[in-house]
């Protein structure tokens, strides 16, 4: 009676085009170990020249058989065709990446998210406030600004770590310290016995008051552990920095990275798609943000 045509039957249908969820092949070209848990992985995409990311964006790193992890991009687009990921060993996926060597393959999806927005920052003085593993995502914007130095005003970098043994990007830190067009300050929360340290000791908020900034022309960029934000925001308020001149980069558990799976949802916003960088007034209104 009824006859159906045009349906190819059931079962698995091969896809003509790569779906959004499919990672592309990439090779680890270099590894730089910073601490027992943290290392920088330089990544080269096999099928295209460059990632095409903006500073503050992230990728999903895929290890076949283990899974995926969202990782911020630590390098600026200007630094070459490869890109850098600083990865802390905290779970299965990051653990498996730490077991890899140069030449090993992994999968990359991305870049994803809204980053620091270097265009809107042009002409501004830049104040970076990074805590711990929050340095790599800010580094991408720091290097972007240094590569286009004339586009930006004063550059101040504040960096805090747990101890002198947890310092990331030490080679960059030396370079930043050596430049006379960058003000770099850092602090450690504590100095374990037997460790050498002649710098500041105290949480990151202790190095904010001495910094000389013009609240009218400065944009602050904050990235660090969740506990850090509220205290840094209070110090910046003391400095008279307007809330709309503050950007925060937030960490969530991104799974799909395209604003659908719900894991990174913060009230009505998806951190993977609407962020991870937000203007502070946007997150201030949202109870689940900070």
């Amino acid at each position: 009676m009824t006859e159906m045509g045009g349906y190819g039957g059931s079962g698995q249908v091969p896809m003509q085009q790569r779906l959004a969820m499919e990672p592309e092949p990439a090779t680890i070209t270099d590894i730089r170990r910073y601490t027992e848990k943290d290392a920088l992985f330089e990544i080269d995409l096999e099928e295209r020249d460059e990632l095409g990311h903006g500073p503050g964006e992230f990728v999903q790193v895929f290890v076949p058989g283990i899974g995926e992890a969202p990782i911020s991009i630590a390098s600026a687009p200007e630094e070459g065709d490869t890109f850098d990921l600083v990865i802390r060993e905290v779970g299965n996926v990051t653990g498996a990446i730490h077991d890899m060597e140069p030449g090993d393959k992994l999968g990359i999806r991305g870049p994803y998210g809204k980053g620091w927005g270097p265009e809107r920052l042009k002409g501004q003085d830049l104040l970076f406030v990074a805590g711990g593993i929050g340095l790599p995502p800010t580094r991408s914007m720091i290097e972007k600004a240094l590569a286009n130095r004339e586009d930006y005003g004063d550059i101040t970098i504040l960096y805090g770590t747990t101890s002198p043994n947890d310092i990331l990007h030490d080679e960059d830190i030396q370079r930043w310290r050596d430049r006379d067009d960058v003000e770099f300050r850092m602090t450690v929360d504590e100095v374990p016995e037997g460790t050498e340290w002649d710098g500041n000791v105290g949480v990151i908020t202790t190095i904010i008051p001495p910094v000389d900034i013009d609240p009218e022309t400065t944009t602050a960029m904050i990235c660090g552990p969740p506990v850090m934000y509220q205290f840094v925001l209070e110090e910046l308020d003391e400095k008279g920095l307007p809330e709309e001149n503050i950007l925060v980069s937030l960490e969530r558990r991104m799974r799909c990275a395209v604003g659908l799976c719900g894991h990174c949802q913060m009230n009505d916003l998806y951190v993977c798609k609407d962020g991870p960088v937000f203007e502070y007034p946007v997150v201030k209104k949202r109870g689940e943000a900070l």
Binding site: M15, A20, M21, G65, V90, R253, Q265, N267, E288
Partner: protein
């Protein structure tokens, strides 16, 4: 409006089951519960059902699906996307579930271009049905979803001796083009309207506010964390409410490895925002550690966040969550009405200048 004799309808369904390449599924009864399942015979169809345990969502966003497969070849991995599609004819979808599918289409197809979902929707025919019975928990009348004029390819309404068929799409008209039908009489058209009016009445339990004011109410009640914590006190975080909801679509992505690690696959699986670790990140931080916050998030997602993004109130009033919640705390209608009463008592009902959204924290863990 077309009219089809009952015996002809049975033959039509049996013919689809026997001769159509697509799977024919429908509302049926097994082991004392209604569910959507494969039909072996037209007599399996239970169009008198009130509420299936799971909504038809499972046919477009399966509880578990493979996104890609990979296999090691030397040092490299070959990765291939796969799409598991089962073209289907789904018979007996109620108006509130039609509304839910339309909302999901907006999110997965219009907004996200999700090929997995889209291809399944394209290859599916939806035959809706006007409910003959309504579950006690259903409040679709309060949510304006007890009748639908769109979202179906065909819509069936059982009258005394015959079945009225409304055609909603070209797919629908093609499906019945060779089936003997006649045009409905004036009386039959009126009888169908009366059936639909009866559903609205049966499915109205009494929402104490205008449906369109729900986002306003929830937004105003966001900070009432004690209210949410009190209501969530008995919550076991089992996520039954998430699982049975026709508009819950959160998922997780898991990689499944074959023994020996030479090959494996990536799966997308249903997940639920009431699970304790749903919003946890590496190193122990959890952005909704407290039950009350997770419970609040679910209600706000339904009545506030999806509305802000897509303009839909994502609670369609089917009542499945209320029916399947073991501690009996998930009935949305009761929560909406309680929240309104709570804000009224505090003199903070919107209109009395109270819609702040800054949060106060819940302090108790879990």
């Amino acid at each position: 409006m077309k009219i089809i004799e009952r015996s002809t309808f049975r033959n039509f369904v049996d013919d689809l089951i026997s001769n159509d390449e697509r799977d024919v599924v429908g509302a049926t009864q097994e082991g004392g519960q209604y569910l959507f399942d494969e039909l072996d015979d037209s007599s399996d169809l239970a169009l008198e059902y009130d509420l299936t345990t799971l909504p038809p969502k499972k046919y477009f966003l399966p509880p578990r699906e493979t996104l890609l497969e990979y296999e090691r070849s030397g040092e490299e991995y070959d990765i291939d996307s796969v799409l598991e599609i089962e073209p289907r004819i789904v018979i007996g979808v109620h108006p509130w579930d039609l509304e839910a599918i339309e909302q999901m289409d907006k999110i997965f197809i219009e907004e996200h271009d999700d090929e997995y979902y889209e291809r399944r929707r394209e290859e599916c025919v939806i035959i809706g049905s006007t409910p003959q019975n309504v579950a006690d928990e259903t409040f679709a009348g309060d949510m304006n979803t007890a009748t639908k004029d769109t979202g179906y390819d065909l819509l069936l309404t059982e009258l005394d001796d015959v079945i009225a068929v409304e055609v909603g799409s070209r797919k629908g008209s093609e499906l019945i083009e060779n089936v003997p039908t006649r045009n409905a009489t004036f009386e039959e058209v009126e009888a169908v309207e009366a059936e639909k009016d009866a559903v609205v009445e049966d499915a109205t339990r009494g929402l104490d506010l205008p449906t369109e004011a729900l986002p306003t109410l929830l937004s105003a009640g966001y900070d009432e964390i004690e209210f949410w914590a009190d209501h969530a006190e008995q919550c076991t975080s089992c996520c039954s409410c998430n699982v049975v909801c026709p508009t819950c679509y959160c998922f997780d992505i898991e990689d499944v490895n074959e023994v020996g690690a030479e090959s494996g696959k990536r799966e997308r699986r249903w997940d639920g925002c009431n699970l304790k670790d749903f919003a946890a990140v590496a190193q122990g931080e959890n952005f909704r550690r407290e039950r009350g916050k997770r419970y609040r998030h679910r209600f706000h997602r339904k009545g506030d966040y999806v509305y802000e993004r897509f303009g839909d109130i994502a609670c369609v009033g089917c009542g499945r969550c209320g029916k399947h919640c073991l501690p009996g705390i998930a009935d949305p209608l009761a929560v909406y009405n309680d929240l309104k009463e709570h804000l009224e008592e505090k003199g903070e009902l919107p209109g009395s200048d109270a819609s702040a959204t800054v949060s106060t924290e819940v302090t108790s863990d879990d």
